[in-house]
Amino acid sequence: MTSPASAASQSPLLVFSAGGLPFAVEAAAIAQVAGGDWQPAANARLTQSIDLAALLGLPQGERKRTLVLPTPQGPCGFQVDSISRQEVSLKTWLPVPSLLADWAKPLVVIGFVLENEQVISVLNLADLMAHWADKTGRNHS
């Protein structure tokens, strides 16, 4: 798990929308952005493309893009609606307050960025992946 920076940290982020809400991920964590119909290679052990909106309990969106996450078991895809036109940019991170860290289980947010007075959660896709694996009973370890 990438520990949230206690002070404001800077890192390139990819801003996207899923289920009608804006989210961000660290650009470095993404191997590739693919189309909505992305499927892992036939020889991959994890042959799943995950609907991010459904996993977060949000309403279904267009799912026109897939964020491909490199894992030791092979690439794993997260279907999202669209990639923001702001695209990859350097944002000022805000750390997760400790009280929120106590309240959010599992904690998949590693920080927040502000854009036009709007707070955007920065997700840790690896933690999300692990949570999905727990939830669906798949163990990738």
Binding site: P97, L99, D102, A104, K105, F112, E117, V119, S121
Partner: protein, 161 residues
């Protein structure tokens, strides 16, 4: 934007406490006025994944991100959810910053401890546990909240899940 400085000076009367009184929906609450940092007009609350329903989301105030706690949902109060919420109370409790919704700020009053009553049995156990006392006031019954206890309870609830 309404701003309040934390009350540092001790109350003039040894047997009275300075309380911040506000209303949220049908209920009125009291807090130790020292805990209230600031009152702001409402702003957009962004939901955070995998949080309880009473954790409404986060707001940003001058470069800081604060979680917003919904008392109505937390205490599972009866009746319709409040619809007139227009103020956010920014609270600092044991170094934690968070926000509560309010319909109306009733003001800050020095209230004699003699007026404190034991919470009624008819209240929900969770609400009674998070209360220091109940008060009779012109605006009706007021729940005097024990904020540290409230935060402790929230943490326990999340862990229990």
């Amino acid at each position: 934007m309404e701003t309040r400085q934390p009350q540092a000076s001790p109350p003039t009367d040894a047997a009275s406490v300075s309380l911040f009184l506000f209303r949220d929906g049908q209920e009125a609450y009291a807090l130790g006025s020292a805990a209230v940092v600031e009152v702001i007009t409402g702003s957009t609350v962004t939901p955070v994944p995998f949080t309880p329903d009473w954790m409404e989301g986060v707001i940003s105030v001058r470069g800081k991100v604060l979680p917003v706690l919904d008392l109505f949902r937390y205490f599972q109060l009866p009746g319709d959810a409040p619809t007139q919420r227009s103020r956010l109370l920014l609270l600092a409790v044991e170094g934690n910053l968070f926000a509560l919704w309010s319909d109306k700020i009733l003001g800050v009053e020095d209230i004699a401890e003699a007026k404190f009553e034991v919470p009624m049995d008819t209240l929900t156990p969770l609400l009674r546990e998070c209360m220091l006392a109940q008060l009779r006031h012109d605006d009706g019954l007021i729940f005097y909240l024990d904020l540290p206890k409230l935060l402790e309870k929230t943490r326990q609830q999340v862990l229990k899940k």
